[in-house]
Symmetry: C4
Subunit: 394 residues, 4 copies
């Protein structure tokens, strides 16, 4: 009797999980951008509107949309408004410095790119342009398991550019081992295990647009090449939930630091650290997975208290402003990641567009840091935000 809804879940989750299906290549190729060059940015919210006109509706809906009523998605950005930054013109600083260090790499600013599958959905140069833009900005990209270009090609597109690799784990450890070793060989500085996508979120834009994600995922297809695997076998391989053992396994076979992404509770953070996680990545997948989950910014101070500086915290979901970056850092984050805005920059200006998105955030963050009297990222982390509800600074 429940057959029907199981099928429905399967259809949707197939978008992300049916690795074999993805290996079969692109059909219904959407209209995609091939722009390359600097772009004018007023702010990242406006960028979304502008980008929406440049790619096919279904593809854009896939990128832009969130789960169900998008309450969680929208709350990600509005949650930042709950805390206020106290200007401080009497700090006596004479400039600001945005540099920071992550995974042993010096970054020009504490902003990196979160893993996303859809670079090849919206731009011809796909992840290659994104990493070049990230390199221009002096920072770091997370490459998705489902990157549209093989990970070694991405690495070669921007020699010397640091990157990390995001993993959607399979029940098949041969696959898992194969893919992380490939990432390490390509030069990945760390592996990110995503734990919040055990099934695909219920993104209604796709249903409304009758849209089916169908971009080649060469990292996956390479592993399955020649192997005879049916769609239903592939589907059965998806791993819907994770454990400390998974973290330990990936650490062992990769020999790389492992970050756990999709943490949204102190308990999950504790479990991950106990299993050896080298970093906690707070995320609700940009509101694309569980509508009804809290905003990441609402959970950040609570999780940071549990993590207690044992490992670095990476924070994403809803970041659109330099003040958001500032508030996240001041609430316990060490690094802040952006998702969709990078794709909008990619759509509008290729690698230069991606760089311009970083520069816009850097510009806003610089202004914020000067006005708040915080001379560097460490000072931002020490800054006490003001909570109007409690009538007191943190």
């Amino acid at each position: 009797m429940m057959k029907k809804h199981i099928q429905a879940v399967a259809v949707v989750s197939a978008i992300i999980f049916s690795q074999a299906a993805m290996a079969q290549g692109t059909k219904n190729a959407p209209v995609i951008s091939d722009a390359e060059g600097p772009i004018k940015i007023i702010n990242l919210y406006d960028l979304e509107k502008e980008a929406s006109t440049k790619v096919a509706k279904g593809a854009f809906g896939y990128v832009e949309g969130g789960a169900e009523d998008e309450v969680t998605m929208r709350s990600n950005s509005t949650a930042f408004d709950k805390k206020k930054i106290l200007p401080n013109g009497l700090a006596g600083i004479d400039g600001v410095n945005l540099k920071t260090t992550f995974l042993g790499v010096e970054l020009a600013s504490p902003i990196i790119i979160a893993p996303m599958a859809a670079h090849g959905l919206v731009h011809k140069e796909a992840d290659r342009a994104t990493i070049r833009g990230t390199q221009k900005a002096g920072t770091l990209m997370a490459v998705s398991t489902y990157s549209s270009v093989p990970i070694d090609d991405i690495a070669k597109s921007a020699p010397g550019a640091p990157f990390v690799f995001q993993l959607y784990m399979s029940k098949d450890n041969a696959y898992n081992e194969y893919i992380v070793k490939k990432a390490k060989a390509a030069g990945a500085k760390a592996i990110i295990i995503t734990i919040d996508a055990g099934t695909a979120g219920n993104r209604e834009a796709d249903a409304r647009n009758n849209y089916n994600y169908s971009v080649a995922t060469p990292n996956v297809s390479e592993f399955y090449k020649g192997k005879n695997i049916t769609q239903s076998q592939a589907r059965a391989l998806r791993k819907i939930s994770f454990s400390g053992e998974d973290i330990k396994f990936i650490k062992r076979v990769s020999g790389l630091p492992v970050l756990v992404k999709g943490v949204l509770s102190p308990q999950a953070a504790e479990t991950a650290i106990a299993a050896g996680a080298d970093g906690i990545w707070i995320s609700n997948h940009g509101g694309r997975q569980l509508d009804g989950a809290p905003a990441t910014f609402d959970m950040l101070p609570i999780i940071a208290k549990t993590v207690n500086k044992r490992v670095p915290i990476i924070f994403d979901s809803g970041v659109r402003r330099g003040t958001h970056v500032f508030k996240a850092l001041a609430s316990g984050a060490d690094i802040v990641a952006i998702g969709r805005p990078a794709l909008y920059g990619l759509i509008l200006g290729g690698s230069e567009g991606v760089n311009d998105v970083f520069q816009q955030l850097n510009k806003e963050l610089t202004t914020t840091m000067i006005l708040a009297g915080t001379k560097d990222i460490e000072a931002v982390k020490q800054n006490k935000l003001f909570d109007p509800e409690k009538q007191e600074a943190r």
Copy 2:
């Protein structure tokens, strides 16, 4: 001097209570649906808009509308947003199971259909199609006193399908005894006494549409057949308030478990349990009765604390999402009932439409359970929601 408003109340309340009037059959028959077949559902909110185009305006207004300013009605759904679900990708589960047991019956999911009068107002097959849809979904329907089809016909329409019977009590215990025995004979698993409709709510859509509910209520008319009863005598028979004695009486004459529906305070729950109630049904009648009453979800944890697992809690009003079902279960409910959405499914697809409404909720609940790391209904009940106001999980 108060004559006028007493008349006005009488006119409105006559819709539900003047049993004799109802026995006189349908006039001004509205345009109704005869659809039968699977339907496409994006979500249950959209379903309402779609269904609104398929039946007469007055009839749809009767189904869709709430009391007065509809503050209570709207708050029922928005109240769920106040609590958040913490995703948990590190639970190590390998699948989810929605099955549960209620009144000794195994249900495919914890979602049932609340009692409603209006099946025959919107669909030719009326309650018969609804119970067939419910049976397809592997769950249970509550049949209203004012069902549009005699209860034994409903039972025969879906042999073996479990159902319960809802009772609007009369001051005439002969009537009360007659009707619950008839329900028992037809196979009802329990009797539900509705206590929140001692007079009809002030539903303005009906006044605006000059709409008068007038669908035959054969369960009632059968009792009055041949008896010579005037409208004003019938009106005088309506029971406007209830007591523990009523609960005891119905238990005794029916020999069935009795659930008390329309509980919205710990005090009422305590009174009902003290009188022997076998279940507490938290409801504000979908916001159709007392505008100014709290959202059911706001009262659920408070009542659950009082009930303290002595009897099961059934919860309704405002449930439109799998996350709503999840949050209700995590806040103390054992079973969740839906009302209007089942009628929308009925309007659009008959029994298949009703089943599709269940499957949509099951699909959403499945996704939610996977992402929250809860493997079964018991785990959902143990789940701690996050309250952003208190910055802590339950």
Copy 3:
């Protein structure tokens, strides 16, 4: 240098206070209603829209408008939503009774008419029709100092109808004594001293409409007849603030109970009671005076605690629903007054329209009382509202 704004205040306050000016009679007579007969009411909010089409824009703006941004005015009605009524179907009541007693008079319901100047602005029969409507409803009207018809004519229009008289005090005690004695002679049951209109509120609708209130105020003009008084002398006579002595004086010269209207703080209530006030009338003048003042419903429980049943509490401002009446009574009020809605009834149906407004509220209050399980006004007063913020009933 401040000359200009003093003039501006003077111009506006002249509307209410320059008694001599008012005594000079009506010019620029507005279009007014002469309707008489029953009206259809969906609810009192809708009534406002309907009435707005029947009288001149400037006059309607004067009636409908509030001070400045109308934040206080709008908050009066929305404040009621903060508290919830818990339905109680297990109270075992067998009917409800709305009767109550006020100033020794039995009223059909606890709802009366607040003092207003503008009856003659909107209807040809003016206060005469209003008191006839109030009499039909079995309740009581407060007649304003600035009634458009002499108080004795109002009394004669509805022989036997109880009424009270509202006083805008002058610095000239001869005037004050004259007018309250006239009211007593006409049969007033009590004198209401208004203390919240020491200067006119800043009602921008009037400024936008270039509207100047100019309806004859015969109670006032009769006193000044033959006396040679200039506008500036009259202006200097307005009393901008009051004291316990004023209350004592009016009690002494009138020999009637004195109610103090415009109380919005516990301190003012205490001062008034200490000076011998026989009732506390909580009001913010329907949001027409000080924008930035709290909603009356927000202050009611706090003031009721201070009053502690020493004298009755009359409550007004923002009452548009039976549930509002219920919530006010359950929060400490003994009597609830309505203002603008009575004028809307008057505009649309004369005395019958006024009565219909009462019947609408009575109907809604009856429904609410049945559903809340409160059999009479005393039971309503004992009822505990639910405060969702505190997660507990009062």
Copy 4:
């Protein structure tokens, strides 16, 4: 790699800081007003709309706009709604007096003009008309470093009118000393050091309008006349953050009281007082600098507690109503400053328009004081506001 965003910041900050650039005079002269005469004011919000039609779009956008999403800007006005004024008709007062004293000068009301650069951007008579309007109103103007007319000309335009001088400090103390001595010579009663504009806020209206501020700043250009200074040298001279030493230096070289403007935290207030500040000016620059900063009214009571009457508090940002002035005074402010509304008055009516803006606020404040029963400014300061959240007066 960060070159680009550094340039961007530089371009924007050049608007305020590149003193040499400013010294080069106006190009792209905007359409400006030359109105002079009394204006009709309904309220200051409406004035903005009216004024917007009288000057070039880019110029108006510069005046009206705030930083980024304008959350801080809008919150400045809405924050006042959180506290309520309790009317008090039983205070027994017989009039109100708005006079107060500031810096040894008697003012007709506690409202002054905040420093602004843009007088010459919107009106031909520039700061000269503004100071004449301020003089008519019996109050005081703060003249900006970037006034469009030399400070001595402004002083001569309104002989005897009190004024203070606002300073944007340079790293070049010769400049700082020169300019404050010039201000003192012109008759300034005090120096205001602005500490919240170490870089220009990110005002998107300017970016959207492709607008570049370019009005002559003669106070600055006079200093640089004949000196050979490049744009980049000028840029390097901007002081981005301040210290107690700066306050001490300005006190010493000016021999005038020094007020510190842009304080938004208790810590900054303490630092300023410790360095000898003679007044604390609470401001967020009208929401033009750091979007994400709290509303000034939210910080006022907290800062006032720290200041503890050691020095006077001047308050600005978002003041549009007499009730705002009242609430600020009742929360710890001694003087309230207005910014944009004065420019709107200037645009619409020159010096008379500026005066009318003051009279409108005075009129509203007078009404508020009468209704609140506060006879003078001292009584307003003692008044206890009502906080609905806490259900208690301050």
